[in-house]
Symmetry: C2
Subunit: 419 residues, 2 copies
Amino acid sequence: MPKVQGNAFYAQSGGVTAVINATACGVIQTARKHKIKVYAGRNGIIGALKEDLIDTSKEPAANIAALKYTPAGAFGSCRYKLKSLTENRAQYERLIEVFNAHDIRYFFYNGGGDSQDTAYKVSQLSVKMGHPITCIGIPKTVDNDLALTDNCPGFGSVAKYVAVSIRECGLDVASMCATSTKVFILEVMGRHAGWIAAAGGLAAEKAGDSPHIILFPEIPFDETAFCAKVKLSVERYGFCSIVVSEGTRYANGALLADSGTKDAFGHTQLGGVAPLLAAKIKQQLGYKYHWAVADFLQRSAGHIASTVDVEQAYAVGQKAVEFALAGKNAVMPIIIRTSNKPYRWKIGDAPLEKVANVEHKMPRHYISRDGFGITKACRDYLQPLVKGEAYPPYKNGLPNYVRLKNVPVRKKLNTPFEV
Amino acid sequence: MPKVQGNAFYAQSGGVTAVINATACGVIQTARKHKIKVYAGRNGIIGALKEDLIDTSKEPAANIAALKYTPAGAFGSCRYKLKSLTENRAQYERLIEVFNAHDIRYFFYNGGGDSQDTAYKVSQLSVKMGHPITCIGIPKTVDNDLALTDNCPGFGSVAKYVAVSIRECGLDVASMCATSTKVFILEVMGRHAGWIAAAGGLAAEKAGDSPHIILFPEIPFDETAFCAKVKLSVERYGFCSIVVSEGTRYANGALLADSGTKDAFGHTQLGGVAPLLAAKIKQQLGYKYHWAVADFLQRSAGHIASTVDVEQAYAVGQKAVEFALAGKNAVMPIIIRTSNKPYRWKIGDAPLEKVANVEHKMPRHYISRDGFGITKACRDYLQPLVKGEAYPPYKNGLPNYVRLKNVPVRKKLNTPFEV
């Protein structure tokens, strides 16, 4: 192992998850073991650009340990994609300037495809600028759409939330359908890929179980076929339970969510594909409906996080530090499924340039022929990812999530930077 | 104790909850102990009118025990209010005819205010018709709006769900607010009373905690004051987290949910006060927002049921049978809070005629002076009701809820009855 030198920088990027803090825990606990100080970016990469760093060494060990079961981004995240090198080289140079000022030799960037791209560029530029930095991307996304890794930390927990929820809501509408609600619609995330919606399919173990219909972004919405399937479910089972991805589109590519609902001011910006479908069903079939939009509920549900997901999220953080110390650079830890039954996995690594900006969609053979459900192959893939209940500790009947002190690092540069 | 004779009838009524089956468990287990056979109405009281009864004695003890942690209505519920005696006496006479045919001497009706009224009328009429039936109403409603009982079974679990969820979503938006979403809105149930929305307030333990704003049906919506409060929260804490009751109204009594959102066909029936508020905030303040509508998610969330709620739901079922066997009639078991710190409770009883059709709204002193939050008195009332996590068992990463066999009782009457 090469001589340990310098500090590490860690930042959370993009939409947060139930387990991204478990990754932070893996990074920080492992770095502490190797006597490396971790500075976190306050609100992600913006913290680096503004030299707004958090000294995680000031945080008690118990707080760091508690990150393992605390959802959302403990240091703040951001939606901020660095421009390309040619468009805004100054951003990259600023990062390296800040890293230089604080003797940061390791850059851990925890996010989706864009973040892997940024980490890769920083690694390239830092060499040219004479301050070489070891850059490790760490995967995170509820969308499960990163390339090369078998699955993404964050996905297993949202998958579990959606499957649990549609099972529960299915029991509810089954109870009510004789005289009241006959259709229930749950809208879930996934603008480009249907992984999250697919996870709802785990709830159905035999014919008639909820959900009866899943709508994927990958399958163009066919209103006639959809309404026929709703009618069939109601006639056969008494009710129809539906999971719809927010990214469901018409054959012409237009999002359903953009195509109808208007707010009080005539704007079409509300989103909400669930209410739109509900209205179509009411108009075409006359059934009474209920709908829910899970939104942040699904990705922040630390109270029902998947144990496998928490363990993998921790492991990619831990391995990121170990890879860096072993001299690896410009790589991302990936999850490799070594066995399906029993489920076994290990952490490997992939070059950042191969991960960056590649989208991993659902394979067609994971979606049933009629386009409204998942296949056995899909179920076999998803099933292990939702295993185990990583319950947080409770206090007064509510999860006792940690709130970090987030002590700032004293600034060394005297140059403000506009982001 | 009087000599045990005859069978019992049990039915679930109205919107289901996470714990109404725990009440069914209490009824059936206690009845079994006393060698009384329980017939359940398939889809509630409609099952009695149609002579569509379920023989719970055919159900294995393990299935009955599993009801304690299985959400929704295991025998089916219904939204069906019996007309008044003068309007439709035939309905009541039919009930008594069916009860007579199956030697049913005990009528347990598990529901809200309307159901207590029905139970009361049946008890009165049965005497006149020469087939006296012991009638016990059993409280159930997520709305927590039944009179005389300190709280309603079903409410504690939905309260816990809402408080857990708004705490989690608050952490999410706090992570994102530097560059993205600044406002999060969670829409919850409660058409007439703000108890469920109030429960969200439990998540906030100190200034700045989520939620910053609660909107109650009891407080007329003041758009100017609301927007000012949103702005203040964003300026002070970086974000604003909101719980809104579906029943929030303007000063003129119109529901917000009815007042703006139109679907693709121009209908105003969508509901959804959360998207409406989001649009107002965007228009007035320009903040990026997210919103969720919990709908059935909140009342079917067996995976995060409150232990206190489950225990009370079971206890009212158990006591209903014990009261009936002790010769009480036309009463409802009620929950009596005997001590707040430590929380202690017992089951008492109240006459059905005093419970029926009385609505228990939130007292004004439970709502903060500005109308956007809860007071300490409210917190002290709510806190004990969400205590404990009554986790269900899991299989393959999902709650292993029971599905009963629901074996029908052979019909004895040869007379169809239209409902």
